[in-house]
Symmetry: C2
Subunit: 211 residues, 2 copies
């Protein structure tokens, strides 16, 4: 039917397992999905390549992108800019790929405003207890950090209703399949298939009266 890709925003609490989920989805359906690459002014870390993990830009270059409206959304964290370049996303969508942006709620709502057809997915753990358990089991963070992440989750949970679907990350493989099914189904929405519908109507009118 409609050959164009869907823009998908994936958000979720820290510890919900978004990263692993995205990795597995893209590995399993590499022909279907493209992960959006963000632009940033922060320094590349060891092993990071321009155009792979990020598009690395200077502050001047980034501000020029803002001025020329070349970003779908952007934000500044601790002196560094992060944003989603429009060109890469549109190129992927036009080639028929569903493009995934992994950003938090403020960014998600900006994207939805600019592209109303965006699909918003929110990844949740099966329960709050499970979220805490995962954060603790990582073992890499102090209790203070875990506590601030849980506090942040409370704030973020206020925006959950703005999303279209919940993706409950209990079993990874099941979750990947659910997410893939949600996106496949979304392609069949009538409002995403205006051209197919118009064409079918036209054809039907052409048949009428003919024997």
């Amino acid at each position: 039917m409609n050959g164009k890709g869907i823009l998908i925003v994936v958000s979720g609490f820290s510890g919900a397992g978004k990263g692993t989920l995205m990795k597995r989805l893209l590995e399993k359906y590499e022909e279907t999905y493209a992960l959006s690459i963000s632009a940033t002014t922060r320094q590349p870390r060891e092993g990071e390549q321009d155009g792979k993990e990020y598009f690395f830009r200077t502050k001047e270059e980034f501000e020029k992108m803002i001025a020329k409206a070349e970003l779908i959304e952007y934000a500044k964290y601790v002196e560094n800019y992060y944003g989603t370049p429009k060109a890469y996303v549109e190129e992927q969508l036009n080639s028929g790929k569903d493009v995934i942006l992994e950003i938090e709620i403020q960014g998600a709502l900006k994207v939805k405003k600019a592209y109303p057809d965006t699909l918003l997915l929110f990844v949740v753990p099966p329960s709050a207890e499970e979220l805490k358990k995962r954060l603790v089991e990582r073992g890499t963070e102090s209790m203070d950090v875990i506590d601030s992440r849980l506090k942040r989750a409370v704030e973020e949970s206020d925006g959950m209703e703005e999303y279209d679907y919940l993706v409950v990350n209990d079993d990874l493989e099941i979750c990947v399949e659910e997410m893939h099914q949600i996106i496949c189904s979304e392609h069949l929405r009538t409002r995403r298939n205006g051209a197919f519908i118009e064409n079918l109507k036209e054809e039907l009118r052409g048949l009428k009266g003919e024997k």
Copy 2:
């Protein structure tokens, strides 16, 4: 998550293969779906049982059901009433089954008005030519009847945009799976999971501050 079933209306052009599709879906996922049983005042045909194909009612009984608002929707065709009894549908929904109503667009829109959470699916053939081919190949109808069905399809196609999803019936098995996936995904909509979200928020607030 939400344990309640979804009310699903399936419509589509005559010849799109709705009947075969429903039969296969219910056969394959009999634990998941229930087909709504209509009430009618028409006479039972050979082999038809009350409460199976239809709930057979007298005109007086049917009009009493209308007066007591016991029908989700009803219509009169050629002197006979046809309608959807509320009690059976709600009983199935409460038991967690997704209930399927196979009705045409006017009925579909009435159901959507009474139950805004209804999911509306429209079954289409891959093309208008294919629709005509299927009607011709049935071999049971005159060219005049086929012609009037195609004319009716033109009228019905005007309402396609009112539906949530298009289900393209090309290969039967693929189509059954697509329909099942659409419905499974629909269960994950945030707006169908208000209680789960509220509960998760509550739990998160409970964890906050605790170490």
